[in-house]
């Protein structure tokens, strides 16, 4: 039976990674509950899930960008979160909260479009292009506010980021889950999804079969920007303030989640379920270790080891399978 399972898994690395991650998550839950008596209590679930939506959205955007190949990466997502937040914060007094957020999401798309054009029209390598836009967007957010957060958000706005439905955070239930489902369906069941995977697998072949690879990739950068903007809205709703450093550091975590979730850094392999379970694993580890009062420094180390081990094992895995064949 194990041999059967193994043979089936061999053909589908994504499914293998998903099972591995789910297994890892279960192990993590067991270990965390042993480390701290406070882990297995009802308050842990909303506590934990509170931290999932924003990073989850960024991770999903990153998964798609990396998936489409190129190689693609978007290091500016954290900065987009900050900049969109600052702009929305500035617009609230004039426009009201929800129109301002809508404009913010449009802005996120535009910022993503800049990335897309730089990478796919001007052919600037994505690492460097998005690094540069990260500098620009992040700097604009900090410089225009001199570091000070903007308040003035109406109390009802907190519903999205702070409220719960049936014990689960609203942002998780009403934003992350639907978005994840939509993106998963798009990726696996629609034509555009197949185009994305094809572009990632072999962009030359995709181009020759008529797929406008550049357009697909630009679209995904725009999507990544939009998802970052939605994350920014959730963040503002959570804290009832627009912080100019809201997204700092999130881009690397987003890449970590995407890669942990099984997305191959050169594209062609990757998926939504893997990313979602990956962020659950990471958040569980972080929260669990925190509840056991193990310092944030150790948490960083665990994440690093996990990241390297997950990618290393693919290599080692392949070597072993290759050997056995």
């Amino acid at each position: 039976m194990i041999a059967n399972l193994a043979t089936r898994l061999q053909g589908d690395p994504l499914r293998a990674r998903l099972l591995l991650l789910i297994g890892l998550w279960l192990v993590a839950i067991v270990v965390m509950s042993l480390l701290s008596p406070y882990f297995l209590q009802s308050s842990t679930v909303p506590y934990l899930l509170q931290y999932v939506p924003i990073l989850g959205l960024l991770g999903l955007g990153q998964t798609l960008v990396i998936l489409a190949g190129g190689p693609g990466i978007d290091l500016s997502v954290g900065a987009i979160v900050s900049l969109v937040g600052v702009c929305v914060g500035a617009l609230i007094s004039g426009l009201g909260v929800w129109p301002a957020c809508a404009l913010g999401i449009v802005l996120g798309g535009l910022l993503g479009l800049v990335n897309g054009v730089l990478v796919n029209v001007l052919r600037i390598p994505s690492l460097i292009a998005t690094l540069a836009t990260m500098f620009v967007y992040g700097g604009l957010a900090l410089a225009s506010t001199q570091g000070k957060p903007m308040g003035n958000f109406p109390a009802e706005f907190a519903w999205l980021g702070q409220g719960t439905t049936l014990g689960l955070p609203n942002a998780f239930v009403f934003v992350l889950l639907p978005d994840a489902v939509i993106l998963h369906v798009m990726l696996t069941r629609t034509t555009i999804g197949r185009h994305i995977v094809a572009s990632g697998n072999d962009d030359r072949a995709a181009y020759l079969s008529g797929i406008d690879v550049a357009r697909v990739r630009i679209g995904l950068y725009v999507l990544s920007g939009v998802l970052a903007a939605v994350g920014s809205v959730i963040s503002m709703s959570w804290f009832l303030s627009a912080r100019p450093d809201a997204g700092t550091g999130m881009e690397l975590l987003a890449v970590t989640i995407a890669v942990l979730g099984g997305t191959h850094i050169f594209g062609g392999t990757g998926g939504v379920p893997g990313t979602i379970v990956a962020i659950l694993v990471i958040t569980t580890l972080q929260i669990g270790l925190q509840l056991a009062n193990i310092s944030a420094a150790w948490q960083l180390g665990v994440i690093g080891i996990l990241l390297v081990a997950s990618v290393a094992s693919t290599g080692a895995f392949k070597a072993i399978w290759g050997f056995k064949r």
């Binding site: 701290s36 506590y47 009832l240 420094a297």
Partner: protein, 327 residues
Amino acid sequence: MNAILKTAAISLLAATSMIGATQAKDIRIAFVPQIQGIPYYVAMEQGGQAAAKKFGVTYVQQGPTTTSGADQLRIFESFVNQGFDVVAVSPDDVESLKPAIAAAKAKGVHVITSDADAAGSERDFYVAQAKDQDLGYTILDEMVKRVGEEGKIAIISDSPTITSLNNWIAAIQERAKTKYPKIEIVSVDHTDGTAARAFQFATDDMTRNPDLKGIIGIASTTCPGIGQAVDAAGRIGSIVTTGFCSPNTVKDYVMSGAMTYTVLWNPTDLGYLTVWAGKEVAEGRKFGDAIKVDGLDANVQWLADQNILLLGAPMVFTKDNIEKFNF
């Protein structure tokens, strides 16, 4: 194999339940500093642990690895979820914590702020080393005492998103505007927390204003950089530098004159006071006019109208007295 696993599982369960059992008796106090890993908060932790030992409570201190409001929030909520009786916090960003403080209060957890306040939140009270205003005023007054009422001064701070630092800067600027109109604050720069950046800014500030009379370092992270910069530029004695620095970090510079004086308070005392105050509030006692803290020499005051427990006036460290302190 099975037997080994069973024994392991049982002993693990026993251990965790033992921990659970001991925790039921103690009062548990937690503190979330602005960041982990700087001497200032290590000193606070020493004071906190000393008080914990003396009063028989449990004290845990955990801070984020960056001055990020979101990271700090996670740690704060973790303490609330662990059922700590009192959670003290020195907020990086006040807004991020407000909803969490309200939620914690609703759960019956006492929330106090220490070292930096969360104005406008539902915290029980603020354990202050000195009032933000007094700190800003004192450091500028001492500067003016040494450079005169006229001249150029530069300010170097840490991340622009830290509320407490911005409060001190605002107090300094306000003091300058109202009391010393001829003092010109030429620049306010923000480092990334490294000594090298503070060094760079201090050096460039001195270059840009050859008649610069003083430099104020707002965060303890800027101090070594400023001291080194004055030393490297050969300006010892011709410029007055200061900061909110812990004596140990700047002792060499104060003795050599690269730093003229520093303003601080005793963070060990602050940590001690925080734990004592936590215990008082956990046991339901209120503060009266006369505060007597067992084991602490300071003249602690209770400002009822603002809900502030004040450690005392800021302390000025100079060449004359810095050798006496070890934190």
